[in-house]
Point group: C2
Chain length 162, copies 2
DNA sequence: GGCTTATCTTAAGCCTGCTTATTAAATTAG
DNA sequence: CTAATTTAATAAGCAGGCTTAAGATAAGCC
């Protein structure tokens, strides 16, 4: 009779793996002054300048209030600027500051290092496979599961996704 | 020229998937009065009665202080009891209370539901594969990467891992 | 116009995790 | 035995999630 092997419980394994990876990212990115969550928010913001908080929260799939406080800290640190939306007095338009722009190369390098550590010993096929399977799982858990995956679109950081 | 597709960045995808799944678990387990993290701690505790906090933190791969406050809340709620270790006056021995024991079946059911949602549309091979790949990644990110995976051991909840 | 509903943001309060640092006790070195 | 080191637990302070609820504005309907 084998133990309920929580060490092999899907949810626990997934959550721990993500937490350990996030911890590694934060350790390595500490010199940047940006956390993993802030990097992610900035990453989306680059391609959606002027988006409001509700829209960015939608992209990041987190609650608007969670994003609001993330933006609070980033605005405080000078990475992000809030400008009033001239069309909608309830909303802010969000912009990266010039100060934040030089950080992209470093963010990408940190991401690459952490990914390499996590996927050490993975064949290219294994790496592709885990991404594919995670994307499917994320899609299943998403609130808007009817939407399609976003198409490859143009931008200044071609092929950098890891 | 394709965008840096953060939507396909390994770390971001992994983290989001885990967060969405954890959110689902907490939504469904709210009636239990236990969060995902508390369920996980209890799950390990069942098979390690009398373990101290440092040991349990090691099993869960989180920092001792993180576990200490988790245990604070669980002791407060009456799920866990701290008893002084007669051999070591620094340490507590941790025990599940009787009150907590009936919750296991429900915890497992919630885990099963959430897993089914996440892995909807996955073939059995896909399900096995994502677990295997996640376990390898977690092992790579673990602090004690030299240790082997734990063997199948005996216990009262055979084959329940999902 | 006026009412109702929906949307954007934030407040309050909570849980979970981290880093850093402290205290107390056990263990080891000399 | 004593001193130095290690270990168990906790304190303080912070980031980042959540739920629930509120305020302000926009949009839609009559």
């Amino acid at each position: 009779m084998t133990e309920f092997d929580f060490n092999r419980s899907f949810g626990f394994v997934l959550y721990e793996t993500a937490r350990l990876l996030s911890k590694r990212f934060d350790q390595r990115s500490k010199s940047l002054g940006l956390t993993r969550a802030q990097c992610q928010a900035l990453a989306y913001l680059v391609y959606h300048e002027g988006i409001n908080q509700a829209g960015l929260a939608e992209l990041l799939e987190l609650e608007p209030i969670s994003l609001a406080r993330l933006i609070d800290r980033m605005a405080q640190a000078g990475w992000v600027e809030r400008r009033p939306d001239p069309q909608d007095r309830r909303a802010w338009q969000l912009f990266m500051t010039e100060k934040a722009k030089p950080l992209f190369a470093e963010m990408i390098a940190v991401g690459r290092e952490v990914r390499a550590e996590a996927l050490s010993g993975f064949s290219p096929e294994d790496s592709d496979r885990i991404m594919e399977l995670l994307l499917r799982a994320r899609h299943n858990l998403s609130d808007h599961t009817t939407e399609l995956a976003p198409p490859e679109s143009s931008g200044p950081l071609a092929g950098a996704a890891e």
